[in-house]
């Protein structure tokens, strides 16, 4: 299967192991190279150690150090597409108190959100594949 974003590298950062693995597998299925990390320090360490050409950063903005990581990654990879993970039924990420991400719009224009499945939600893989495909398509469009 060919991804709209080609073989872009997606760095996926969230504390939920299941969600990270699940999303990573879907990004991989859609032709991306997906690198999972469970927190920002880990993601930054991997990025620096291996010079990862991050094209898409999927991150839970509530993680400690998220804002700093985003700013650093944007500085190093100006074309990076940002996808913010938000909890189902949560306030918009940009206005969530304490999220520390109010400054994000000023450092990156193109950003998207991905809502994590709610606890009672039945997960449909085809729906999520379609959701991520749409996301990649949008990100690809923004890039051009």
């Amino acid at each position: 299967m060919t991804a709209p974003a080609g073989s872009a590298l997606a760095l996926i950062v969230d504390h939920d192991l299941g969600f990270v693995m699940w999303l990573g597998e879907i990004f991989t299925e859609l032709g991306c190279e997906a690198v999972p990390a469970l927190h920002c320090r880990q993601a930054q360490a991997l990025t620096k150690r291996f010079n990862l050409p991050v094209a898409i950063l999927v991150v839970n903005p509530e993680l400690r150090g998220a804002e700093r990581m985003i700013k650093e990654l944007v500085a190093e990879h100006p074309g990076v597409r940002l996808v913010l993970i938000r909890n189902a039924a949560a306030a918009p990420v940009s206005s969530a108190p304490g999220s520390g991400l109010q400054a994000v719009p000023s450092v990156i224009q193109a950003r998207f959100t991905l809502e994590r499945p709610s606890p009672g939600e039945t997960i449909s893989r085809p729906e999520w594949v379609a959701k991520v495909r749409r996301l990649l398509s949008l990100a690809s469009g923004e890039r051009s």
């Binding site: 504390h15 939920d16 192991l17 299941g18 969600f19 693995m21 699940w22 990573g24 597998e25 991989t28 190279e33 997906a34 690198v35 999972p36 990390a37 469970l38 927190h39 320090r41 880990q42 360490a45 991997l46 150690r49 291996f50 010079n51 990862l52 400690r64 499945p117 606890p119 997960i123 893989r125």
Partner: protein, 126 residues
């Protein structure tokens, strides 16, 4: 042996119990006295455990370690592995349920290399 590059603890209250379906090959190793190892396939995973589809499930009990090769090589040559330790809490028709609160991603040496590199990158504490 793969090296941990981080061991940032994650508090249990932040973990999701939601299980996500997967289909990733995994190698297992029983911990403790029983010397048994083999392979299976992870069918679902959460922050608190996994279900491992495995043929010799009746022989598996106690503490177990799983290693999952992530389908991506860092910098084109370095494997990334999920290492998970836990306890077999249930056997079902096709596999075993493992309860776990210890998991981390680890890097190892080049996939083609016989000797694994020590890539202990960073240790951070909250």
């Amino acid at each position: 042996m793969a090296q941990p590059f981080d061991s940032f603890p994650i508090s249990s209250e932040r973990r999701s119990r939601k299980r996500f379906p997967l289909a990733l090959a995994a190698e297992y190793r029983l911990l403790g006295d029983a010397e048994r190892h083999g392979s299976g396939r992870i069918r679902n995973i959460s922050s608190s455990g996994v279900f491992l589809e495995v043929a010799d499930r009746d022989l598996l009990s106690g503490w177990i370690e799983l290693m999952v090769n992530w389908p991506c090589l860092l910098d084109g040559e370095c494997p990334l592995k999920l290492v998970l330790k836990g306890r077999v809490v249930r056997r079902e028709d096709r596999g075993i349920a493992i309860e776990s609160n210890e998991h981390e991603f680890r890097t190892a040496g080049p996939a083609s290399g016989a000797k694994l590199l020590n890539l202990k990158l960073l240790f951070f504490h909250p």
